[in-house]
């Protein structure tokens, strides 16, 4: 696989460069190589060839990143598991896999029926960076996202999907790193934007600067930018919303690239942010996890008022060169140009299908004849339209999926866990509310006289990651309904007084 061979070459030829800056320590490519080699030895000693998948407990340390590379060189699949997520959820994910192995750099993961492997304590092992041969359909990683039935959905991404993505980004020559670059990696490894944040730097011999999980992220990121003069940033828009009150104190002239993704990007804030990073080229990226990280992007203009926007939200641009976008109606027919509809896409980056989820696969994928050839398409669930300059505009979700801090959440899943442990059968609605900073927050409306919701909240905390637990609870005697007899979510929003 080309990208893995390139990783091998890059690591070998940048031995003396810094590869990572983690928790106040620099690690060189040589340090990384040693860790990779140790982990490969552990894998070949303890994991059978026919076992492809290995769970990866995601710690913010060199060994965890080295494990990803080691897995790929061994032709394995990594499935990131966030140790801060509830045990039940992590077990549900692990039990759905075809493996009994978990890599935990700290070595204290304790999941029943799973064998925990860790790195070696020895200081020296023979360098081993030569990749094993993999087939293009082998899986590089599986990410689990929120599912509407209360069960997380697994999205497998193959080696060839990831390879196609890297080639598509390189094809445009708009985002080109140097070995001297200093690149931010602010994402959880369970979120696919983490992959771009480490893979492009490692492919060029640049250094990756990570952000600890429990830090106040926006201040920690600023500290990295200021202290280490970062040159490449990949951010969710909420980071700059948080930093906005301090824009007049930020001047980061070294930043060369600034990529946004994972939520609506507003043009008014970009106008001000541009002054903080005067020399940067910025992009607004869009892409569902199912189609390997990014699917399209819009290159921002130096002058924000020239950007293409809709209701102040910046365009998601044009698809990457191996990707076809179509906008369809409910019957999967393409709509006329300029009309809105669901975005569907086909590409070499498209997942082979959800992990062991036949129903969801039947719902989400379909075949359509394009130029009399059958092409496999994925329905993104995103409402979009294309403008006269062939740029795509994102209008929102067609169903009840929302994004909180970049994480995709199915509201029915939140409602499901809220209702499941309530002493009474009550109507509950989860909604996203935009606060005055412009960030989405999760809220729960309960149709009832007020009571102490602590039991409901505690159950949600036990079943779901922290970002899926509503921050606000409001009791409403009777829910408002619209003329179609559906709960009026817009009106429910007005009951919350969120600043």
């Amino acid at each position: 696989m080309k990208y893995i061979c390139n990783l091998h070459k890059s690591i070998e030829s940048h031995y003396n460069n810094n590869a990572f800056y983690i928790d106040n320590t620099f690690y060189t490519y040589e340090d990384l190589t040693l860790e990779i080699s140790k982990i490969r030895l552990v894998i070949s000693n303890s994991v059978n060839d026919n076992i492809k998948q290995i769970g990866l407990i995601t710690h913010d340390d060199l060994q965890t990143y080295a494990a990803i590379i080691a897995f790929w060189l061994e032709g394995k699949t990594y499935i990131p598991i966030n140790p801060d997520h509830p045990l039940d959820r992590n077990l549900e994910i692990l039990n759905s896999l075809e493996t009994s192995f978990i890599f935990d750099s700290i070595g204290n993961a304790n999941f029943p029926n799973f064998k925990t492997i860790s790195t070696l304590k020895t200081k020296k092992v023979a360098v081993n960076l030569v990749p094993k041969t993999v087939s293009s359909s082998d899986i590089a990683y599986i990410l689990f996202t929120s599912g509407s039935t209360g069960k997380p959905k697994g999205v497998p991404i193959s080696y060839s999907n990831l390879n196609a993505f890297i080639e598509a980004i390189n094809h445009d020559n708009e985002f080109k790193l140097f070995a001297s670059d200093k690149c931010l990696q602010m994402f959880e490894l369970t979120f696919d934007f983490s992959v771009v944040s480490y893979i492009f730097p490692l492919l060029t011999g640049a250094c990756v600067y990570t952000v600890p999980r429990n830090s106040i992220k926006y201040f920690y990121i600023y500290k990295l930018i200021k202290t280490h003069k970062l040159t490449v940033l990949s951010l969710v828009p909420s980071i700059i919303h948080y930093l906005k009150p301090y824009f007049d104190e930020i001047y980061a002239s070294e930043v060369r690239y600034c990529s946004f993704g994972g939520g609506a990007l507003y043009n008014d804030i970009i106008e001000d942010w541009n002054k903080c990073i005067p020399n940067a080229t910025s992009f607004n990226y869009y892409g569902p996890t199912e189609n390997t990280i990014y699917s399209s992007y819009y290159k921002l203009n130096k002058h924000a008022n020239s950007n293409i926007t809709h209701n102040g939200v910046i365009s998601i641009g044009k698809p990457l060169n191996n990707i076809t976008y179509i906008i369809i109606d409910k019957d999967k027919n393409e709509v006329d140009i300029g009309n809105s509809g669901e975005l569907a896409l086909s590409s070499k980056q498209l997942t082979p299908g959800y992990w062991k989820n036949k129903t969801k696969n039947q719902d989400s994928f379909f075949t359509k004849l394009i130029d009399s050839k059958p092409i496999r398409f994925y329905k993104t669930g995103d409402l979009c339209y294309i403008d006269s300059s062939n740029n795509y505009m994102y209008l929102g979700r067609i169903d009840f999926q929302v994004k909180i801090r970049g994480f995709r959440i199915e509201l029915p899943e939140v409602e499901y866990h809220a209702k499941s442990h309530c002493h009474k059968k009550l109507n509950m609605v989860a909604i996203d509310i935009i606060n005055t900073l412009g960030n989405a927050e999760l809220a729960l409306a309960i149709e009832s006289e007020p009571f102490n919701p602590v039991e409901i909240i505690n159950n949600m905390k036990a079943k779901m990651p922290e970002y899926m637990v509503p921050m606000h609870v409001q009791f409403i005697k009777e829910f408002p309904y619209n003329t179609n007899g559906k709960i009026d979510r817009k009106k429910i929003r007005s009951y919350f007084n969120i600043k």
């Binding site: 830090s215 106040i216 104190e249």
Partner: protein, 82 residues
């Protein structure tokens, strides 16, 4: 104002924003020790503390804050600079 005075004054801000009292605040407390103290609530807490003490933090103060002790020091130095 002593460190103790400041600690006493900021505790109610945390209680108000986090909507619970299940924590002790001392100089070594970090976001790990206090339930609900995270990215969003931190921003609100900072705003309320600025109002209460009639000060305005610099980004440089905020980026180096790793625990309550750092917060108290930043408040002290801001008060003394008025």
């Amino acid at each position: 104002m002593t460190k103790e005075d400041i600690l006493e004054k900021i505790k109610p801000v945390f209680v108000e924003v986090l909507e619970h009292e299940n924590f002790n605040l001392n100089e070594t407390s970090t976001t790990d020790d206090v339930d609900g103290w995270g990215s969003l609530t931190h921003m609100i807490i900072i705003e309320k503390i600025e109002e209460k003490f009639n000060i305005k933090f610099k980004l440089l103060d905020l980026m180096n804050m790793e625990n309550i002790g750092d917060l108290v020091k930043a408040i002290q130095s801001n008060i003394s600079s008025i």
